[in-house]
């Protein structure tokens, strides 16, 4: 699905990613954990194509394409989805209007006809039920006046609508209460299939009680320094990150 090799990225001359390697196969869920400042959100931003970051070395191959050569929108159209840590409020742009445009641009990219209004609304109903989001919320302005939990549910709703190949969830659990966490996780789990994959970036182990990862990686100082099965997350929760730092 995605193969990241020796990825180096910097912002304003400061190197954040310092040779990151990661391979995720179809059907897998990988968790990336790590202390603050390790580069977790940078990784998410770089994968989505945020232009503030400069890639100084490395390769990222996504579905056999050179991801770094693709524009942000083409990455999305190829099937990459970033669930934002801080979803942006966009007053005046309605969720459904924007999602229909997004869906149709993706379809056009793949040589498909636009979705009919009827099919689109049926999809909205089906997917909003999945994340228990009020369909009325779908017709409101994107994230405007949404609570923290609503914003994160809206991310998962968009993900469900766009049906990506690879979802990158950037601290989707931050700011969520336990009910919202359950709903968001249910949404992510319901979308899991042998054809797609997820990278779940999180600071806390608790999200991984709901979304069971196949692999857990520790990101520290711009590199993956340790990888292991899901039990690694529990160990990190218990022992913190210091023992890993010391072992380096």
């Amino acid at each position: 699905m995605i193969k990241i090799e020796n990825l180096h990225a910097s912002i304003n001359g400061k190197e954040i990613l310092k040779g990151l390697n990661l391979t995720v196969n179809a059907g897998e869920v990988h968790a990336i954990m790590g202390p603050n400042g390790a580069g977790k959100s940078t990784l998410a931003s770089v994968l989505a194509g945020r232009e503030d970051y400069e890639i100084t070395a490395g390769n990222v191959s996504f579905l056999d394409k050179d991801l770094l050569e693709l524009s942000t929108e083409d990455r999305a159209r190829e099937g990459l989805f970033l669930a934002f840590q801080y979803p942006v409020e966009i007053p005046g742009v309605s969720n459904v209007n924007f999602l229909r445009t997004a869906l149709n641009e993706k379809r056009a990219y793949h040589g498909q006809d636009p979705i009919s209004a009827k099919d689109f609304m049926a999809l909205v109903r089906e997917k909003s039920a999945l994340v228990e989001i009020d369909p009325k919320l779908a017709s409101r302005s994107v994230n405007e006046g949404f609570s923290g939990g609503e914003k994160k549910r809206n991310e998962i709703f968009q993900m469900a609508m766009l049906n990506p190949k690879l979802a990158v969830l950037d601290e989707t659990d931050s700011g969520l209460d336990i009910d919202a966490l359950r709903i968001v996780s249910q949404g992510v789990n319901a979308l899991k299939s042998p054809e797609n994959a997820s990278i779940v970036i999180t600071h806390y182990q608790r999200l991984l009680d709901y979304i069971i990862p196949d692999m857990v990686h520790v990101l520290y100082d711009g590199r993956i320094v340790k990888s292991g099965p899901k039990e690694l997350a529990l160990e990190l929760e218990e022992r913190g990150y210091d023992w890993i730092k010391e072992s380096l």
């Binding site: 989505a48 194509g49 945020r50 232009e51 524009s71 942000t72 929108e73 990455r75 999305a76 159209r77 989805f81 970033l82 934002f84 979803p87 942006v88 966009i90 007053p91 005046g92 742009v93 209007n97 924007f98 999602l99 445009t101 997004a102 869906l103 641009e105 993706k106 990219y109 302005s141 994107v142 968009q158 766009l162």
Partner: protein
Amino acid sequence: METGTLNKLSLFVEDLNETALAPNALKDAAHEFLAGQDFPTTRSERFKYTRLAKLANAAFSAAQSVNEVQIAQSKILIDAYTIVINHDNIQIPKNLPSGIEVSLIAETQIPFNEAAFYDIFGALNILHASLGISIHIRQNITLDKPLQILQINSGGKTFYRHHFSFEKNSEVAVYFISKNTEGHSSFAHTHFQYNIAKDARVKIFKIQDTNVGHFDFNEDRAKQAERSHFEINTITLCGSFVRNDAQVIIQGEHAQTYLNGAYWLKEEQHVANYTTIDHRVANCESFETYKGVATDKATAVFNGKVFVRKDAQKTNAYQSNANVLLSENASINSKPELEIYADDVKCSHGSTTGQLDENALFYLRARGLSEAAAKNLLLQAFMEDVLAYVKNEEVLAYVHKRIAARFNWNY
């Protein structure tokens, strides 16, 4: 000019005839105002951001009448009472319902409001206005269809003068559409005078859609009586040189005033909106929202004045101007001004100019929208609250069509 060499202004008016519309006292005042004047420079406060050299040096083609096909193509509203004004000709529909009277100002005894010249153009209009209509809506009349006034410029320099009188408790929507024929360079200065009696509800929509080569100057002067509702919504779709100068004097209590504007500029277009709302009495409300988008080397000016006089207690005045610049060479000069002499009032004003939100653009692109589509959505959202005042579907469709054609933005 009596002495000296001819300046640019003398040359500009050289081929214009003085007309007999205005009373002699007013014309004397206009002459006095103009004595020794030339085109104002950018040192003058009201033209600080508007260079008139282009106008002063422009050569205007001879005026030509447009044909019926051109007129039909220029209409925006199909189901409306339509008045057509072009060159030396005015067409007034014959099927007007009772309660509305439309006549040529040349044939009507019209009341001229007292002279107050803000600039040379207002004075020139008094001397040279040759064409115009007088519209009178009788009391308690609600017009069943909107009134569409189509002013088509096709060369030459023309001063127009339109007078509107809305009697008490009348209700009407007026769509004033200014266009020009391509290939003609022209200048139009249009003076609008509105008298809004008590309880009248009047909405003016100006659809400005003129092409390169036309100078479109407008001067609106309104007086509102108690409990009246008055709106001017100015939608500038295109225009190489547009100047709007609206002044509303609120004379009766519990009146409501709305001045709104939307403008989309590109290339080297220049659009200036000057507004003055004068709260002279208590318990009135005024709302102003001007929003615009400018790209390429376009320039826009907003200058909004709100006066709240000593007696205008309990005034509620709101004013805002917001702009999005899409290129480094586009510029906006925005100057909100409040002068408040009453102590129990609620007034606010604000002005913002910036680029589109980079985070919002990235968010939309990360969902698969092209950069163009993302900008399109954000700009549409940005202009939404001004366009919300336009309820007429035909007009909205026209606005969207023109913006799509000019900017390749699909609304």
